[in-house]
């Protein structure tokens, strides 16, 4: 059951450049547990889309199965959505992206959905540098099936039932780096200041943008001993940088200390503006990100922020060299070679 929120449009609510107010980016009322991290991420998506003045119908939102994968109903109700099957969102997004290169594709997944059943598709979407934003709402457990450990649960993390996890966690951000993902970030559902600009930057990135967002499950994995609880994350979080996203032609407003700041221009003219908190880290050097991540992990810390960006890579359309016009807009005239050409084909088989 889902409930449409009554949308009360206050005349004073500020319209963005494309004429929408913030509530236009919302979806139906969430049916997740009160306090679930996923809802905060939905909120950040709404915020980001509103702020960058996205026209909602220019985005398609896709997901697998899980509490996290339900969230696309809770934001952007003017966008087409697809709640598909468990672990297979990447392949559906690949097909959708092939059909129309002009839309923005936002994929939402869970750690169960991505790190277990969906591992293969995740890896290969990265390999193809599919132009999409891929958000994992990472709670270290299977929320919707009642709290089993997932593959991102940390070694030794204690479950609600009291048992220690004996397996090494899969670090999805580390994995994405190893696999040459062209944009890798990590954030925390509780840190909107970091998350909102990160989502904006991810949307501006013309390739695979991966966001691993720690998102506590209040019902099944927010207990003492869990390394994915609100309190544990708050206590162990650290950041690569102070981070902002500046849309094309907007002015940079924040002043960063000289020397530690960096400005990265993206494909569409927008910019990422950041002040490094880690001196040896360089956002465009993949191996420095790997190093930095490793160092944090060794200290038991959770490194968040932008980890790596490759501002110059070809997405799958580029690799395949497809035409600029979306394939789903090509007409029969443009596609069908016609009877004459077929006669030639026939002749070649005689």
């Amino acid at each position: 059951m889902s409930y449409d929120k009554p949308k009360f449009h206050h005349p004073l609510l500020k319209k963005n450049k494309v004429g929408y107010i913030k509530t236009d980016y919302e979806g139906v009322i969430s049916t997740l547990c009160a306090g679930c991290g996923h809802d905060s991420i939905s909120g950040a998506i709404v915020q980001a889309c509103y702020e960058i003045s996205l026209e909602p119908h220019r985005l398609a939102k896709l997901s697998g199965i899980g509490c996290s994968s339900k969230t696309p109903t809770y934001f952007l109700s003017n966008s087409h959505g697809f709640n598909s099957v468990h672990g297979r969102m990447p392949s559906i997004t690949t097909g959708a992206n092939m059909a129309n290169r002009d839309l923005i594709y936002l994929g939402v997944s869970g750690d169960g959905d991505t790190a277990s059943i969906g591992m293969g598709q995740f890896v290969h979407a990265i390999r193809r540098n599919l132009n999409m934003v891929y958000i994992v709402m990472n709670n270290g457990c299977y929320g919707l099936t009642k709290g089993q450990d997932s593959a991102t649960a940390d070694f030794g993390s204690v479950s609600k039932a009291g048992s220690d996890n004996p397996y090494q966690a899969i670090d999805l951000a580390g994995l994405a780096l190893e696999l040459n993902a062209t944009f890798v970030g990590r954030s925390f559902s509780g840190d909107k200041t970091q998350l909102v600009p990160m989502i904006k930057a991810a949307m501006a990135h013309p390739g695979f943008a991966f966001l691993d967002v720690i998102s506590p499950c209040v019902t099944f994995n927010n207990n003492a001993g869990s390394t994915k609880s609100y309190s544990h994350v708050r206590e162990h979080i650290e950041s690569t940088s102070i981070f902002d996203f500046v849309p094309k032609e907007e002015e940079i407003t924040i002043d960063y200390p000289e020397g530690e700041s960096a400005e990265l221009e993206l494909f569409d003219g927008s910019k990422i503006q950041l002040s490094k908190l880690a001196p040896d880290w360089n956002p465009t050097d993949r191996f420095s990100a790997v190093n930095r991540l490793h160092a944090s992990k060794a200290r038991g810390q959770i490194l968040t922020g932008l980890l790596y960006i490759n501002t110059d890579s070809k997405d799958l359309h580029g690799k395949l060299n497809t035409v600029d016009k979306p394939l789903n807009k090509l007409t029969q005239e443009e596609l069908c070679p016609g009877s004459e050409a077929l006669e030639k084909v026939n002749a070649s088989f005689r």
Partner: protein, 604 residues
């Protein structure tokens, strides 16, 4: 062993080792016969391996145009020592065994009732070529030269075929010609020729072409406007992908920019392949995949999603020998039930069964129209025999006035003109097919949420029993709509006259038509119907109703097609007899006639 001269009616088999280039030599041989205007079918019987295992190439020549396999080999060229015994035993009494006489044939291989023809193939090759690889390759051309002469095939035709084959590497032509002549001359100088079995130019192929079904499917997809193919390599469907890519490179490059008007994606597995197809079709680009065997099994979950969320999918299943990895390089029609009812829960899927390459083309086009119209999975059920072997076929046909049926898709204008709110799963027209919208169509109208969970007419999640019932009952009703849209069956008589009706589908047609003729000659008259689609067209029901006894011929163990007929048409099983062939080789007319006669005696 004096025999009558038999013209244009024979079966020749080449027994080789794979990876030695024999397939291409044997193909040129078959093509030459076709060029002489004589109906011919080659069948390549190859192992699931790249190099060094037995492979056979069988060529049936039939002036009457019977294109199925036939038992009883008239001439066998045997150059594979591993299978010598078996090969020699497969020749019909009075037939010919052509062998490499560079080494003497051992006593144990001598049969009194066949004729031995020795050609010193490897010796000739070694005498004329230095490189071992060349010796191996040209040995094949040497035996072609010999057999061509023995059978009185026109040498000029063979040379022409060779020239075309090496069009892009013309340097190779002289060596091949030379090898050919070596074979020809050896026969001319040392043996009696032509044999009592021989060929003669006629004019019986008309405007036919020689093409494999997979290439025809790929061309069908191109003509149907498919812009996304997502696939994973698996024999025997891989060549659909290969042909799609090849012809797209010729037919689908934007002239100005050199860019591609298609996306060709090798997926990481079959689950991803069909997922991409679902994504592509959801987003309004005609998308398809091709697979076989295990691939279809892996796609089960997604096929259910396509059914329930009503997303078009075109899936080409080139069947191979099952179960499991089974016999990946052999043919069967054994994915009928698993395709028709694929996926958990109450599901049914539309299947089309082409019989010829021309139909592979035509039905593939039809698949896209049906998928868009019915918003569900449409499977083209082909098989290895049809897909990978060259078949003499009517030419591929395209009518330029033919328009794609893109089904019920609402445009921005449509949405704006609507007076009622858009309901993605609302049956507005009474045909149980709802309207859909493509993402990005309109800023504020027409967006909806696609899901594999139970949903109401407006695509909203619902667990209410009555909402669920409305939806699945509509899907059942849509199935009835499908019956009116699928291709009607083909009949082999003006009107039904006999009490017994023969039913078959797909590649069985070749043997079935011949079998009917054979039976007719023995005074057994049958009506016949070739079914082209599931669900069954009304005319299928009518034909069955008009016959007391039906015989269903199919190439699987469990009579799966018969099950479909009984189940969907509520037939009394007692009325349906079966003729089955499932050893991995294409069915023969002889097999059909034998079993029909057995069945008829048993039931009388």
């Amino acid at each position: 062993m004096k025999q009558e001269v038999v013209v244009n009616d024979l079966v020749i088999r080449f027994s080789n080792v794979n990876g030695t280039g024999s397939a291409s030599a044997n193909e040129m041989f078959a093509k030459s016969i076709f060029r002489m205007g004589i109906p011919v079918t080659p069948k390549n019987i190859f192992p699931s391996n790249i190099q060094g295992l037995p492979t056979w190439y069988e060529v049936r020549v039939s002036e009457k145009g019977y294109l199925g396999r036939r038992d009883g080999i008239d001439l066998l060229v045997g150059v594979n020592p591993q299978t010598l015994k078996r090969d020699i035993n497969s020749i019909r009494p009075g037939g010919y065994f052509v062998y490499d006489s560079s080494k003497k044939l051992h006593e144990e291989y001598i049969r009194a009732d066949i004729n031995y023809i020795g050609i010193p193939m490897i010796q000739l090759a070694m005498e004329h070529y230095a490189k071992p690889r060349l010796q191996q390759l040209l040995k094949n051309i040497i035996y072609v030269g010999a057999v061509v002469t023995l059978l009185d095939i026109e040498l000029e035709v063979v040379k022409q075929v060779i020239a075309e084959q090496f069009e892009k590497k013309p340097k190779l032509i002289p060596a091949n010609y030379q090898a050919l002549e070596l074979g020809v001359n050896y026969v001319k100088e040392n043996l009696e020729y032509p044999l009592n079995i021989r060929l003669k130019r006629i004019d019986a192929v008309g405007d036919s072409i020689m093409i494999d079904g997979n290439t025809a499917c790929a061309l069908g997809a191109i003509y149907a406007g498919a812009t996304l193919m997502a696939w994973y390599p698996i024999t025997p469907s891989t060549s659909v992908a290969k042909a799609f890519e090849t012809y797209c490179k010729k037919m689908r490059i934007d002239a100005e920019t050199g860019k591609k008007k298609y996306a060709f994606v090798q997926a990481e597995d079959e689950l991803a392949a069909i997922g991409m197809v679902i994504g592509g079709n959801w987003n309004g680009a005609r998308s398809f995949t091709a697979t076989s065997g295990a691939g279809v099994s892996l796609m089960n979950e997604f096929i259910g999603l396509s059914y329930f969320a009503e997303i078009p999918v075109v899936l080409i299943n080139v069947e191979r020998g099952g179960p499991s990895t089974g016999m990946p390089t052999r043919t069967q029609q054994a994915d009928i039930i698993s395709s028709a009812y694929a996926s958990h829960g109450d599901t049914k899927h539309v299947l089309l069964f082409p019989s010829t390459p021309a139909e592979c083309f035509e039905h593939t086009v039809k698949c896209f129209d049906l998928a868009d119209r019915l918003q569900t999975t449409i499977m083209l059920i082909s098989d290895l025999d049809l897909g990978m072997n060259n078949h003499m076929s009517p030419p591929l046909k395209w009518d330029d006035s033919q328009k794609y049926d893109l089904g019920k898709v609402l445009s921005a204008e449509d949405l704006e003109e609507m007076t009622e709110p858009f309901g993605r799963y609302l049956d507005v027209d009474g045909d149980a097919i709802p309207y859909r919208t493509i993402p990005g169509t309109h800023p504020t109208l027409g967006s909806f949420f696609t899901r594999g969970t139970s949903h109401d007419e407006y695509a909203k999640y619902s667990e209410l029993p009555e909402v669920y019932l409305r939806n699945v009952d509509r899907l059942a009703q849509k199935w009835d709509t499908a019956k009116t849209l699928v291709p009607a069956p083909e009949f082999y008589q003006e009107e039904s006259k006999n009490s017994i009706g023969l039913i078959f589908f797909g590649t069985t047609v070749y043997a079935a038509v011949e079998a009917m003729m054979m039976l007719k000659e023995e005074g057994i008259q049958l009506d016949a119907m070739r079914v082209k689609a599931f669900p069954f067209h009304q005319e299928v029901e009518d034909f069955i109703a008009a016959h007391e006894q039906l015989i269903v011929v199919e190439q699987n163990r469990d009579a799966q097609f018969r099950t479909l007929l009984i189940n969907e048409l509520e037939l009394n099983p007692a009325r349906l007899l079966s003729v089955l062939n499932y050893d991995g080789t294409p069915i023969t007319a002889h097999h059909i006639t034998k079993h029909i006669k057995n069945q008829l005696t048993a039931t009388v």
